[in-house]
Structures are given as structure tokens and as C-alpha cells.
């Protein structure tokens, strides 16, 4: 069976079924968690090695979101969530590059599944509105009838389009890329897929960045002036 197709539950916890992609997600969480744990296990004032690298990632994303958003305190509040998005999506995308991933039954990048990308997009969707209400209170509702009440349907449509576009973009890119690599491996097992895999390294990073930046810009727009 080719990945991306329906997969039977891997096992059950009580009555809750656990899919293969969920297990992959757990593995990804374990990897990120372990790196974070070892990086910050013995923190030094003068950072070295893993601590330095991990600090750099966190501080860099922090600065990046602060520059992207107008309000620094909003950036500081939501930067952890956005950094988590980035790391999670990046590793999810790269999980498809593990040798043989496309050939093993049920072993597929979690982001090549509709449900996963939709969940992430929904988290963004709710974050945007929570951030909007937290920053502007009830005035936030005003942006739905901005610049005039006639725009209400379009504005509402826009709000629905945001998570939908996030979902489809991430899913489409990763699923498509994995499908192409899988078929390539099927047809020409050597050398040719390597170029595509190199491309998918780039694509994986780009998609993670795009998702995160779009989420950040939605939050920035919701918390910005004029609502």
C-alpha cells in the first residue's frame, strides 16, 4: 500500500485508535524534547555546543517574530507557539526523508495527512482570534465590518480561507512531494530520486517557514492597530 492512502489503526489505547502518523508525531516530539532537554540540562552563562545552537534557534525565532509583528509584547507572547509550529512542521516534513519511509506501510510524514495540517491550521485560527480579543477586546469585532458593514461576508470568508489555505498548502506540498519521490523510487530506484529528495529538503524547510510566517502575520494583523 502506498502511503497517503487510508491506513488501519496501528493500535488502541483504551477505545481510542492510534494511527501510524500519530506514532511518527510522538517520535518527532521525543526527538525535539530530547534535544531541548540535553541542550538546557546544564545551562551555562557562557553557552557552548548544543546549548549555544538551541539558544540561537530560540533567540533567532524570537527576534524574527518581534521584527515581523508591530507590537513587541504580542510577539513575545506568541513566539513560543510559533517556534513550536516551526520545529514540529519542519521535523514532520523531514520525517519523509528517512530512508525507506515512502516504502514502509503507514510510515509517512504527518504533514502529508489532511487531518494533521488541518489541526495545525485550526490552532492558528483560534490563536489569531484569541490574540485579537486579548489585545483589542470587543473592538476586535469591529474589523469584521471594516471598512464598512457591507464587507462583512467577505471578511468572514477571509477568516475561513486562512485556515483552509494553510491546511491545503502544507498538505498539498508535502503529499505531492512524497508521492513524486515514491513513484520515482518505484520507477528509477537509484540516483534520480536523490535530486528530488534534495529538493524536498528545501521544500520541507520552506513550507515550515511559510506556515509559521503566515500564522505570525495573521496574529499580527489581528492584534494590530485599527481594530
Amino acid at each position: 500500500m502506498i502511503f497517503g492512502m487510508w491506513d488501519a489503526p496501528y493500535f488502541h489505547i483504551g477505545s481510542i485508535p492510534v494511527d501510524h502518523i500519530i506514532v511518527t508525531e510522538w517520535a518527532i516530539i521525543a526527538v525535539i524534547g530530547l534535544i531541548a532537554f540535553f541542550a538546557t540540562r546544564n545551562m551555562q552563562v557562557v553557552p557552548t555546543g548544543l546549548q549555544n545552537a538551541f539558544e540561537m534557534v530560540v533567540v533567532w525565532t524570537y527576534d524574527f517574530f518581534t521584527q515581523l509583528m508591530d507590537k513587541e509584547h504580542v510577539a513575545k507572547k506568541w513566539a513560543p507557539l510559533l517556534t513550536t509550529f516551526f520545529l514540529f512542521i519542519l521535523l514532520c516534513n523531514y520525517s519523509g526523508l528517512i530512508p525507506g519511509a515512502a516504502r514502509v506501510e503507514g510510515f509517512q510524514p504527518p504533514t502529508s495527512n489532511w487531518n494533521v495540517t488541518m489541526t495545525l491550521a485550526l490552532i492558528t485560527f483560534f490563536s489569531v482570534h484569541v490574540a485579537g480579543f486579548a489585545e483589542n477586546g470587543m473592538h476586535y469585532l469591529g474589523h469584521f465590518i471594516s471598512p464598512n458593514p457591507l464587507m462583512l461576508p467577505l471578511n468572514l470568508l477571509e477568516e475561513v480561507t486562512h485556515p483552509l489555505s494553510l491546511t491545503v498548502r502544507l498538505f498539498g506540498n508535502i503529499f505531492g512531494e512524497e508521492m513524486v519521490i515514491a513513484y520515482m523510487l518505484f520507477m528509477v530506484p537509484f540516483l534520480i530520486p536523490m535530486a528530488l529528495m534534495g529538493l524536498s529538503v528545501l521544500l520541507g524547510a520552506i513550507q515550515a517557514i511559510v506556515f509559521t510566517i503566515l500564522s505570525a502575520s495573521y496574529i499580527a494583523a489581528a492584534t494590530g492597530e485599527g481594530h
Binding site: 489503526p9 483504551g14 481510542i16 500519530i22 513575545k76 489532511w114 490552532i123
Partner: protein, 234 residues
């Protein structure tokens, strides 16, 4: 329901100190926690809502009833639920092992640097003070040394004058003493000479007169003579 429990447990892992330094204090921590909790709860409600809709629409369990070989369905409730749980667990883990320690470390580093800078500034002031003190001490020492030298020179000169005066005095004393001794010796010699001359004259007169004359007369005569002669001799 188990998924909801897990979600709530995951949020309980959210640590105390969050990334809201600007607002600062425990209020912002609670506010930040509340924001994330709200997002989590809304996502959970949506998942449960989807489940209810799926069940009500008669499709039954979309996961277990989908035949193998079908394309992935949109709305696999369990995958959505698990992903939401997993994402927030990861967020909590990163808070515990990355954001909080790094934030604390950044703050500590900032405090350390500020402290070091302040300490350096204090040291600079202290060094300047010490330099000034040293300069003052040096000037004072030089002045004192000059005074000591001047005093010593003066004392030496006084001593020199004293010694010189004393030496002169002593020399004068010795000279005077010598003069007196010479004078005394001269007088004594004169006396002795006079006595001897008198004795000789008396002896000569006895020899000439051939008789002994009164001792006292002789002596008087001779003495007169000797005195006259002595005055001539001396």
C-alpha cells in the same frame, strides 16, 4: 474523553514563567497561560463537535469503518485530536526544557553583564580614587623627605659648629695649661738657680773670708747679690 484529559494534563505542564517580560510579573504569566489554554480548549471543542457531527450524519466512526485502500478522509477525528494533544504536549515540553530555561538564562546573562559593567564602573572610580590618593601620598612623602633632609643637614651643621667650638675651647685650654706649666717650671727653675747660686756664693765667700760669718747675714748679703745678678742673668 481520555484525549480531553490528556489535553488538560498537557496544559498543566505549562510552566510558571512565560515569555512576557515587557508586561512582567505574575499577571502576565497567568494571562499567557490563559491564552494558550483557550486555544487548546477551542480546538478540543471543535474536535468533539466534528465527532458529534460525524456520528449524527450516520457515517459512524470514520476511522474504523473506512475500508483499506481509500484515500484519506477529511476529518479523521482521532488524528485531529491526537495531533492537537501532541502539539500542545510539545509546546509544554519546549516551555519546560527550552523557552523557560533559555529565557531565565538570558535574563541571568543580562543581569550578569549589567552587574559586571556596574562593577567595572565602580572599579574604575575606585582606581581613580586610589590613583589620586597615591599621588597625594607621593607628594606628601616627597615633601616629608625633603624636610627630613633639611632637618638632618641643619642638625649636622649645628653638630659641626658645636664640635668645632668645643675643639677650639679644648685646644685653648690645653694651650693655657701648657703656658701655665711652662711658667711654673720657669719660676721653679729660677728659684732653684737662685738657691744654687746663693749656696755657691756663700761657699765662695767663706773660702775668701776664711771664717764663718753669721748665717743669716750671709744669706741676706748673698741673696741681695744674687737678686741683683739674677735680674741681670734673666
Amino acid at each position: 474523553m481520555r484525549a480531553v484529559e490528556l489535553l488538560i494534563n498537557a496544559t498543566a505542564l505549562l510552566p510558571q514563567k512565560l515569555f512576557a517580560q515587557e508586561i512582567g510579573g505574575s499577571t502576565s504569566v497567568l494571562r499567557n497561560k490563559r491564552f494558550y489554554l483557550t486555544v487548546l480548549l477551542l480546538t478540543t471543542i471543535l474536535v468533539l463537535g466534528f465527532t458529534a457531527v460525524c456520528m449524527a450524519s450516520g457515517h459512524g466512526n470514520p476511522l474504523t469503518e473506512a475500508p483499506a485502500g481509500n484515500t484519506p478522509e477529511f476529518g479523521n477525528i482521532y488524528a485531529i485530536g491526537w495531533t492537537a494533544v501532541n502539539f500542545f504536549v510539545l509546546l509544554a515540553l519546549l516551555y519546560k526544557f527550552a523557552f523557560n530555561p533559555i529565557n531565565a538564562m538570558l535574563e541571568q546573562r543580562s543581569t550578569t553583564i549589567e552587574g559586571s559593567l556596574r562593577h567595572a564602573e565602580e572599579m574604575k572610580v575606585e582606581v581613580e580614587q586610589m590613583r589620586k590618593e597615591a599621588q597625594t601620598n607621593l607628594t606628601e612623602s616627597r615633601k616629608e623627605a625633603q624636610e627630613i633632609v633639611a632637618r638632618a643637614t641643619k642638625a649636622a651643621e649645628t653638630a659641626k659648629a658645636e664640635i668645632s667650638a668645643k675643639a677650639q675651647e679644648e685646644a685653648q685650654h690645653i694651650k693655657d695649661k701648657a703656658h701655665a706649666e711652662i711658667k711654673s717650671a720657669t719660676e721653679q727653675a729660677k728659684m732653684e738657680l737662685k738657691d744654687t747660686a746663693a749656696s755657691l756664693a756663700m761657699f765662695a765667700a767663706e773660702k775668701v773670708l776664711g771664717r764663718a760669718i753669721n748665717e743669716d747675714d750671709h744669706k741676706r748679703m748673698v741673696k741681695d747679690f744674687v737678686n741683683e745678678a739674677g735680674d741681670l742673668l734673666c
